[in-house]
């Protein structure tokens, strides 16, 4: 599922929380402090269904932990199957750091943020996460480029060998 890096495009963040007020607040914050585009969902199930229907590029995912339909960890691990490179952030009001740390190890979370969250901190984590996405994509492109060059080189090598054979 690797797409072309959206270097000059606006980064897209997928945000899922069953509480509308959390979505509104975070969306408003990034609206005045960034140019990110936010896709918000109160239902993780709906979010997954939409991603399936209309494939699009996602640069970062933030999810609440305790939600009625599906918990945040299950949701994030499903997102991981689709977008393995995209950083996943767990937003947790669940006052249990041990669980969150376990989750970071098991699901491979990028970060977890405790509720009530601090906007400044949230922006920092998101910015770093997006930077990581960008770097990973650049790295992947470089690798692809290097592989292509190597293939070309080996073709040239073969041609040269054939010419001298």
């Amino acid at each position: 599922m690797s797409r072309e890096p959206s270097k000059h495009n606006i980064p897209t963040i997928l945000l899922v929380d069953d509480e509308e007020m959390v979505l509104t607040s975070i969306k408003s914050f990034f609206a005045i402090e960034s140019d990110y585009s936010l896709l918000t969902y109160t239902s993780p199930v709906q979010a997954l269904a939409d991603l399936e229907q209309t494939p699009r590029s996602i640069d970062l995912v933030i999810s609440d932990y305790l939600m009625p339909e599906m918990d945040g960890l299950t949701f994030l691990s499903k997102v991981k199957e689709r977008f393995p490179l995209v950083p996943r952030i767990l937003l947790t009001g669940y006052a249990d750091k041990k669980n969150a740390i376990n989750a970071i190890n098991n699901v491979g979370l990028y970060q977890y943020i405790e509720k009530p969250w601090d906007n400044g901190n949230l922006r920092l984590v998101v910015r770093n996460g997006l930077e990581k996405t960008l770097l990973l994509r650049q790295l992947q492109n470089k690798i692809l480029e290097a592989e292509r060059t190597q293939r070309e080189l080996s073709d040239v090598h073969k041609d040269v060998m054939r010419a001298f054979a």
Binding site: E19, M21, V22, T24, S25, I26, S28, F29, I32, E33, G93, Y94, A95, D96, K115, P116, W117, N119, G120
Partner: protein
């Protein structure tokens, strides 16, 4: 008949319809002796107006059940007719009652803890939204200042100033709520139902936050904290002890006064001394304050269990509570050992599974 009642393993009285004592068994003589009541005054261990009950039991052939509280004992009394006489069975249920009230109290504390943690958790989400929105408002106000030339628009400048003030005020208010919620969580500490090394001062402070509204301007609080190492304990239980003693201290001060919380340590233990400038405890009551059910507070104010439970908790931690009291006030000193032997730790683990703590 006489022989059978005599060897019965609990107290039995037999009297006639006029309330005259016919016989009294060995266990009953023992009970009367323990209570210091002469046999001819046996009516004192029965509920009031008992003669009319005896009459009814004998004449109507019905049984009667009652309860009598005397000198810290709780007696369950059953009266049944036996030919022309009344047989009165007495059962000392003091321990059962104690057990029951302790059970109720510990259940109450447990559900209170659950409630506190639940409320704290539920408040976190809307609180997070409010705090974030407030932050957004003040950021927006800042941006608006840069966008508009406020020099030439005094009214706009004034309005933005008001918005700034209100945002700051909101910030103070939300931080206050968050610290109360934090204290509630810290106080309940349901996530830490096991022994843990914690900062005692953190427990004292979060408990103080919860009783702060009781202090108001009436009571001045003085904190004298020494450098303390972290203590291995059940933090939620110790917080309950601090709460009980602090509430007592507040209630002991009739008008204006001070409460001093002083911590100190030596090579083997830490001490937490909570002093109040209250009315003190009368010398004759000093020995009773840790008794379950003992209270000088009116009905509905105290259960009389706070200190007895506190005592038990501190005892389970291998520590003790000392009291000094005069008419100038009281000091409760909690001493906790720095190092606990492994043996007492296993014993405490057993204790914590036994709701009666016996």
């Amino acid at each position: 008949m006489v022989e059978v009642t005599e060897i019965f393993p609990f107290p039995i009285l037999e009297c006639d319809v006029a309330g005259r004592l016919v016989s009294v068994n060995a266990k009953c003589r023992e009970l009367l002796g323990e209570l210091g009541i002469p046999q001819d005054q046996f009516f004192r261990i029965l509920p009031g107006r008992y003669l009319s009950i005896i009459k009814r039991v004998v004449k109507e052939g019905e049984t009667h059940e009652g309860k009598k509280r005397i000198q810290g004992h709780v007696l369950r009394i059953v009266c049944i007719p036996s030919r022309e006489h009344a047989l009165i069975f007495i059962n000392d249920v003091t321990r059962d009652e104690e057990f029951q009230t302790q059970l109720i109290q510990s259940e109450k504390m447990a559900s209170l803890g659950l409630l506190a943690a639940g409320v704290a958790h539920e408040i976190n989400t809307p609180m997070g939204a409010i705090r974030s929105n407030n932050d957004i408002l003040s950021r927006a106000v800042g941006k608006m200042r840069h966008l508009v030339d406020t020099q030439h628009n005094r009214e706009l400048n004034r309005l933005l100033g008001i918005l700034d003030d209100v945002c700051r005020n909101n910030n103070v208010a939300t931080e206050r709520i968050m610290s109360i919620v934090g204290s509630l969580k810290n106080f309940a500490r349901l996530d830490e139902a096991e022994r843990k090394k914690v900062d005692i001062h953190e427990g004292l402070d979060s408990t103080l936050t919860l009783v702060r509204h009781e202090l108001t301007n009436r009571i001045q609080l003085i904190k004298q904290y020494a450098e303390l190492p972290d203590i291995e304990c059940f933090p939620n239980q110790l917080n309950q002890v601090f709460m009980n003693i602090m509430v007592n201290a507040i209630q002991a001060i009739p008008g204006h006064g001070t409460i001093t919380i002083k911590t100190s340590r030596d090579h083997a233990s830490v001490k937490i001394a909570i002093s109040d400038s209250g009315t003190g405890i009368a010398p004759e009551n000093l020995g009773k304050v840790f008794d379950p059910g003992y209270t000088t507070k009116g009905v509905g104010v105290g259960t009389g269990l706070g200190l007895s439970i506190s005592y038990k908790i501190v005892q389970n931690h291998g520590g003790k509570i000392d009291i000094e009291s005069s008419s100038q006030g009281s000091t409760f000193t909690i001493t906790l050992p720095l190092k606990d032997s492994h043996e007492s730790r296993t014993k405490q683990a057993q204790h914590s599974h036994d709701p009666a703590g016996r």
